[in-house]
């Protein structure tokens, strides 16, 4: 078993841009690979990553993202986001990074708990059937904090 002082990682994913979703997924999976417990709480736009209809259509942000190294006006042109996203997905496939849907299966099989935020679900008028089968449930933020109530737990907001 892991001798790490970090026992449990709790991620709060609030964004739907592909780079943020992958950051949360890679870190959650990486935690499990190190013998650390991991859970993800999907809230606000982060919920897009667990919506059956949306999860394979997430994008890179080309506007307001200085790391794109292009003028903001260009980033706003039609098709630019789709193009940047396609390029990024291509690079990720080269590194054997799974697509979002497959990644969720990997996380669930690895024992990562997946939670949806009740408040955000209500706000976006979502139903449980809109969400992936691997979801462990819908929680309030209070429920989520209770899951953090043990030594060696870290919370990370993405």
């Amino acid at each position: 078993m892991s001798n790490s002082k970090v026992k449990k990682m709790l991620f709060i994913l609030s964004k739907a841009t592909i780079e943020n979703v992958y950051a949360a997924f890679v870190m959650a999976n990486g935690a499990r690979m190190e013998g650390i417990e991991a859970e993800i709480f999907f809230t606000f736009f982060g919920l897009e990553a667990i919506q059956k209809k949306k999860l394979e259509h997430l994008h890179v942000a080309t506007v307001g993202n200085p790391a794109m190294h292009m003028p903001t006006m260009l980033g706003g042109l039609p098709g630019m986001e789709a193009f940047a996203t396609m390029m990024m997905k291509k690079e990720m496939e080269k590194l054997d990074m799974p697509p979002i849907g497959e990644f969720i299966e990997i996380l669930a099989d690895s024992g990562v708990k997946l939670w949806a935020c009740k408040l955000a679900i209500d706000m976006f008028h979502l139903k449980e059937e809109d969400l992936v089968e691997d979801l462990d449930g819908i929680l309030t933020i209070g429920d989520f904090y209770n899951r953090a109530d043990q030594e060696g737990t870290h919370l990370l907001f993405i």
Binding site: S2, R32, G35, D96, D109, S110
Partner: protein, 102 residues
């Protein structure tokens, strides 16, 4: 550095991985497993043999690769080798620690 496993002098890395696979045998593997709190079964050895084949064929190991392997699924992998299955199983297999992030 040097270590003694199952009565054999072997060379290991700082985190306990064999650096020379030719020094590996089942007894050495069993001893490493014991240190990791794992009691080896036939199923464990099947998986270890598959891992050794992959490494020999220079195929990178990853959790995604386990899902695609057809040998076992991810759930079973975590069950057989709790506490970081890729790390633990490669150590028992006497191969190097995988560098994969996924």
């Amino acid at each position: 550095m040097e270590a003694v496993l199952a009565g054999i002098n072997v060379m290991v890395s700082e985190d306990g991985y064999l650096t020379d696979f030719s020094q590996w045998n089942k007894e050495v593997g069993t001893e490493i497993a014991k240190n990791e709190g794992i009691k080896m079964t036939d199923r464990h050895w099947e998986v270890i043999a598959w891992i050794q084949e992959q490494v020999k064929a220079e195929k990178p190991l990853s959790i995604r690769g386990i899902k695609k392997s057809g040998v076992l699924d991810i759930k079973e992998f975590y069950k057989l080798f709790p506490g970081g299955p890729l790390k633990v199983s490669t150590k028992i297999a006497g191969v190097h620690k995988p560098k994969s992030c996924i």
